[in-house]
Symmetry: C2
Subunit: 608 residues, 2 copies
């Protein structure tokens, strides 16, 4: 089956291969001898998957594509301030090999021109040039995910002919920009440029930059995320020499080109691209490299300023307890109160990545208007949120604080710990209970907040007698007595597993007092809470009726009394007292349908 | 309640207000008389919400902040190529008011320096300078969402003293860059610079750029999205004069500054910022403007190259029919086949925005390996996908085509029409039926695909007799006869609404032949399909048992025969034949619990 992405790459390749303009660099014989028709494109995703076409495994010297990586290393070794004192970050508007410094600052204009690159190399840590070079080679190798080596012939040739670069070195020394032996600094730069790479290597180095500085294949950290951002910034404004403006305009990817014919481009967070084709244009950039990057950017919509769609709110849905009650059974007075006051608890379902703008839309939606009474409770449902940035987290923290100050309880549904930091903050400040693994538990909590404030009538009982249990309450007294006679009451201490996944049917279990948790246990033993049952509730109906195994784990969380109608006794009842059986089963059916309706209601809400 | 975002803005404001360095522009008296202590920050979201602090409603002249907008207008009026022939897009590395052109191209280096801005103004359509100015004024007003006006005093003063700019005008004329009267072009530029705005205006103009060129408050299109991207590109490399590199490095927002003391910055897709404070630094940028933008970018993490998190796949979950069967009842032979072959249909649940990289991860996940037999069916569940870019859409189209060529059926769950284009494509090519509103309908379809290929045994019946109907099949023959005697059989023509939302309980309805659809109808009359019921299935149990109204709409889609046990007859049965009632209700309970288990299973999967 032809690969869809591969097909696009092949197409771009075929188009760009037709362009045979430009000329191979010829200032040293080793570059002049390059096969001009060589052409390879490689695209590596930020998770390390490689697409390639053409000559992507042919070795060539890295040349100026080395500059961002040495700059990153200098920043790591000396710190941003020390490096900024030596090298500016301004586009030069001059050819890359100008023998001049900025007349005002007396510094190289940026690390992507040769003067800046030699300075950056000189700043790499190491007691000797040999140590410095080894440090550079190892750093590059971390980006590439394999051990890179020097092309001695190219290095020798550069060293023999690089008079202009030596002139730049001495100029840098005379202005005190380079503080060590300028010939050694220039030679270090020559060696760095003579490291051998392939198109695949460059694409993975680019993907490592795209992946915040971590090599996606080896998992090794090649550069700190902050420095990666700095390097990508300089590549944006200065990477394509004096063609930088047109590049940003037409391609819109931080990039760097090298005189051997390679172009490296990065879409932060997403992918790295390398193109290799030795013929260069007047700027010194690979003709097909520029063309292929332009085509890929256009067809794949990679421009970093491209906005896919209009702004949208991070709030996917908002509703109140009136629209979506919890699954908990409530007394009549509780129901009345919730019908009347349920809108005082608001639930906001969020989605997407929460960076500043998204968090702002959440804060705006949740914050009550100045003339509005704050609600009793706010629940943020984070289950559809993918990522929360630092600023978004602190904004949501501040929002929760403000809500609490205004007398409004704040809860989070966050089973994956997306707001991990906030969870612990909340726990510290308020004890536990405001971060919930399920929406239903958050809704129950919000209902309790509203009820504590407004409900004067009878609240959910903490115990019921067997005769009062709602499953039996609808039966006629005769039928009820018949059923009660067949049940056995059992007491469970806290922590007792009453029924576990795979257990045979226990029978119909009616909770008379205490509390049990119902948990889902996955095959790999991940436990997730489903619900909590208290007096007046029941479990075990499904295994009883379907004669199936338990699919959930039931555990007593406090001293709990349960009346059980065992399967054999249920069968006996059915034969001996069919009318009582019909009473009981119709009640169970009613409760089952109620459950279906509640679940369907919840689903409906979620799929709107 | 204090606003969280407002608090951050206030904080940045207080910090930057401490800096009193720099000097007010003094080349004309009107600017020199500006109150140096004036300071305002305004942040407007891409959906038009405004945060502001300080002097955001004080009028000042727009000055160079006008340049990107006139450039956008010139691009719209003349086309990209014609404008590119006159103005380059390269950073100049020179002061903004240099009286020189690029020595090679003989063009102004970019539209953000004065030479480029005068050229851009001269390119605006209009038969007279007056018409051209009115066109500029109206365009700016669309960005600002209100009618902007000229400050005649500033204009007169600029006109009286702007000799350097006139010199630039004549230089442009002498090189043929400006083809009309250079004095008129320069005066047009002076007038454009003398339009009066406030910090709120500038922030909304920036937000309009952030919102793809559409003013979020008025909904008016001020510029085409493609041109907006071009303008933001030029602002990125050239917007902050010779401080552009440092700006990208430290702020990372496309921006433009003006000599009256304003700075405008844009985060594409998200927000616009304006800062106004008249004291300027050596580059001609507002001191507090630069400082405030730097602080806001740092605190709010607004750098456009900032990557919030490591790359992630757009595939949220993948499973097969074995893990998640549809809710349709299947015959024993069908069940056996699905147990054995169900993994031949694969479901991929996608999420987030699908741009190139996300679509690539989908294609990679779905495409079978070269040595792998393609599956029978693939379902892409798009319900959690927010936005699909053009390239992602065409990639998914191509993927679906390739799957079909390989003999694999491809279906989409896409109730919101996220893949609208594909829906019609699929319908054209294959007839309808491959785009589904619900996951369950897609699962049923995928099951049918697998069964058509692999199931030799009996398939789901197209009709059943009442005695064979599964709801009655479990009862003893005596009980069954008793129930059957109470039912009435009704035939419905295609299109008949059998029961509608709000209808009273109809009774237990057993489908004997034909097919009915079950639909959910929202309060605002949006209809969503829930399921299709055929022979052997039933409906109406819930309203019967709960004595509630119908919550769904049931419509016959073909000639359909339904046997109904009405509520009164059910009550009679309960009194006269409790054992038959118990039989019937236990069957219904079994089916209800099966439904609960299926729904819970589906939910479980979705929340993993």
């Amino acid at each position: 089956m032809t690969d869809v992405v591969q097909h696009i790459l092949d197409d771009v390749y075929a188009l760009c291969a037709q362009d045979t303009s430009g000329a191979v660099a010829d200032y040293i014989p080793e570059l002049a001898s390059a096969e001009p028709e060589r052409f390879g494109i490689c695209l590596t995703t930020a998770d390390g998957y490689v697409y390639e076409v053409g000559d992507t495994r042919v070795p060539f010297t890295i040349q100026s594509v080395s500059k961002p990586f040495t700059y990153a290393l200098a920043l790591a070794d000396r710190g941003e301030e020390a490096v900024a004192a030596k090298i500016d970050v301004e586009p030069s508007g001059e050819p890359f090999n100008e023998i001049s410094l900025d007349p005002v600052t007396e510094r190289p204009r940026n690390p992507m021109i040769i003067a800046g690159a030699i300075t950056a190399a000189s700043l790499v840590a190491g007691d000797t040039p040999g140590e410095q070079f080894e440090r550079i080679r190892r750093s590059f190798s971390r980006f590439a995910g394999r051990d890179l080596e020097l092309d001695a012939a190219v290095h020798a040739s550069e060293a023999a002919t690089g008079h202009r670069n030596r002139a730049i070195g001495h100029m840098l020394r005379s202005f005190g920009v380079v503080e060590s032996d300028p010939d050694a600094a220039v030679d270090l730069y020559f060696r760095q440029c003579s490291l051998t790479v392939t198109g695949r290597d460059i694409a993975l180095m680019a993907a490592t930059l795209a992946n915040n500085g971590t090599n996606p294949c080896t998992g090794v950290v090649a550069a700190d995320p902050v420095l990666t951002e700095r390097v990508l910034s300089v590549m944006t404004t200065c990477g394509m020499y004096d063609g930088a403006g047109d590049w940003v305009n037409r391609v819109g990817l931080p990039a760097k080109s090298g005189v051997a014919g390679s172009v490296m481009a990065v879409l932060p967070g997403q992918l790295g691209i390398s193109v290799f084709s030795p013929r260069l244009d007047g700027h010194g950039n690979s003709v097909r490299g520029v063309l292929a990057c332009r085509e890929l950017s256009r067809r794949l919509e990679l421009h970093f300023l491209h906005v896919g769609r209009a702004a949208r709110s991070a709030v996917r849905a908002r509703y109140s307890l009136v629209d979506a009650p919890s699954r908990r059974r409530r007394t009549a007075s509780e129901q009345r109160t919730l019908a009347e006051r349920g809108s005082r608890a608001r639930i906001f379902e969020l989605h997407g990545d929460l960076l500043f703008s998204a968090a702002e839309s959440v804060v705006r939606a949740v914050t009550p208007a100045a003339d509005e009474t704050p609600p009793d409770a706010v629940v943020l449902d984070m289950r559809r949120v993918d990522d929360v940035s630092g600023v978004a987290r602190s904004m949501l923290d501040a929002l929760a604080d403000q809500l609490r100050t205004a007398g409004c309880a704040a809860g989070l549904v966050d089973p994956r710990g997306t707001m991990a930091h906030t969870v612990s903050t909340l726990a510290d400040r308020n004890g536990s209970g405001r971060v919930f693994a399920t929406l239903d538990s958050a809704l129950r909590w919000a209902e309790d907040v509203v009820l504590d404030r407004w409900c004067d009538g009878p609240r959910q009982a903490t115990e019921v007698s067997l005769a009062e249990h709602p499953v039996l309450a609808a039966a006629t007294p005769d039928h009820r007595d018949g059923i009660m006679a067949l049940t056995t009451t059992v007491r469970h201490a806290p922590g007792t597993v009453v029924a576990d996944v795979g257990d045979p049917a226990l029978g119909l279990a009616l909770v008379l007092s205490g509390r049990v948790t119902v948990e889902f246990v996955s095959d790999d033993d991940v436990v997730r809470p489903v619900s909590t049952l208290s007096a007046g509730m029941s479990f075990g109906e499904i295994p009883l009726v379907r004669r199936s195994e338990f699919g959930l784990r039931i555990t007593a969380v406090e001293d709990t009394e349960v009346a059980v109608l065992a399967p054999a006794d249920f069968d006996r009842l059915r034969v001996e007292d069919p009318a009582a059986t019909a009473d009981l089963v119709i009640t169970l059916l009613d409760r089952a349908y109620e459950q279906v309706e509640t679940i369907v209601g919840a689903l409906r809400q979620r799929t709107t």
